[in-house]
């Protein structure tokens, strides 16, 4: 990948990771997790693993929904 893009998406991923770690609100954490995934998927695509990218990007929301089940209970 072009260095500038690596930097850009690396930054997105790091930003997502750090904010997931630091944000205290559960919904905020989940959304930050989405940012982390958004930073990571381009790296997978760039390596040429499109099938993996498809699977990963379909499984990621499933994980989120599982997590939301727990978040929901914790909030209620």
């Amino acid at each position: 990948m072009i260095v500038a893009l690596e930097v850009a998406f690396g930054l997105v991923a790091l930003l997502g990771a750090v904010s997931t770690a630091l944000v205290r609100d559960s919904y905020g954490k989940v959304i930050s997790l989405g940012v982390l995934v958004a930073g990571i998927v381009p790296f997978i695509v760039d390596r040429g693993y499109l099938d993996v990218a498809v699977a990963v990007s379909l499984i990621a929301p499933v994980v989120t929904i599982f997590v939301l089940m727990a978040v929901r209970r914790a909030e209620a």
Binding site: G48, Y49, L50, D51, V52
Partner: protein, 150 residues
């Protein structure tokens, strides 16, 4: 003597067991960090060769279907058909390989590929044990679950 009694009291409570083990692991981890750097042996079993141009990327290990492929194994004499699976493609995966370029993982995961070769053939016993672990763990879980429900 007092300190011994205190240690005994700590050890005797099984709630502290995890802490004890974790402490031991921390010590070993520190030892591990101190023993760095460790040299990486270049002569590995089943080495990777990457060929981005292949439609089987990253698992293209060469070879002809139903023929042999060179695979570095520990005991070649024990698996006379080592390398056959690597080169094998089912009709579906053959079709995918002919028509697309970025589906290497799917194609190789479909039966017949280097990972299948390792998991089922040369190191098949690993897989036997591993499925047994899954089996045992699941047996425990389902036994407990069903007993509760009844």
């Amino acid at each position: 003597m007092l300190i011994i009694t205190r240690i005994s009291r700590f050890v005797s409570n099984f709630q502290n067991l995890v802490a004890l083990f974790a402490g031991a692991c921390i010590i070993i981890s520190l030892a591990g960090i101190l023993s760095l750097p460790l040299g990486f042996e270049e002569q590995q079993l089943y080495p990777k060769t990457l060929d981005p141009a292949s439609s089987l990327y990253p698992y293209d290990r060469g070879g002809v279907p139903f023929g042999t492929t060179e695979v570095v194994v520990q005991y070649p004499e024990n698996s006379p058909y080592a390398g056959y699976v690597t080169a094998y493609l089912t009709p579906l995966s053959q079709y995918l390989a002919d028509h697309t370029h970025y589906l290497g993982t799917t194609i190789v995961a479909h039966p017949g590929g280097i990972i299948d070769e390792i998991l089922y053939n040369t190191r098949g016993l690993d897989t036997v044990v591993e499925t047994s672990i899954l089996f045992a763990a699941f047996a425990i879980a389902s036994y407990l679950f069903r007993r509760e429900v009844k």
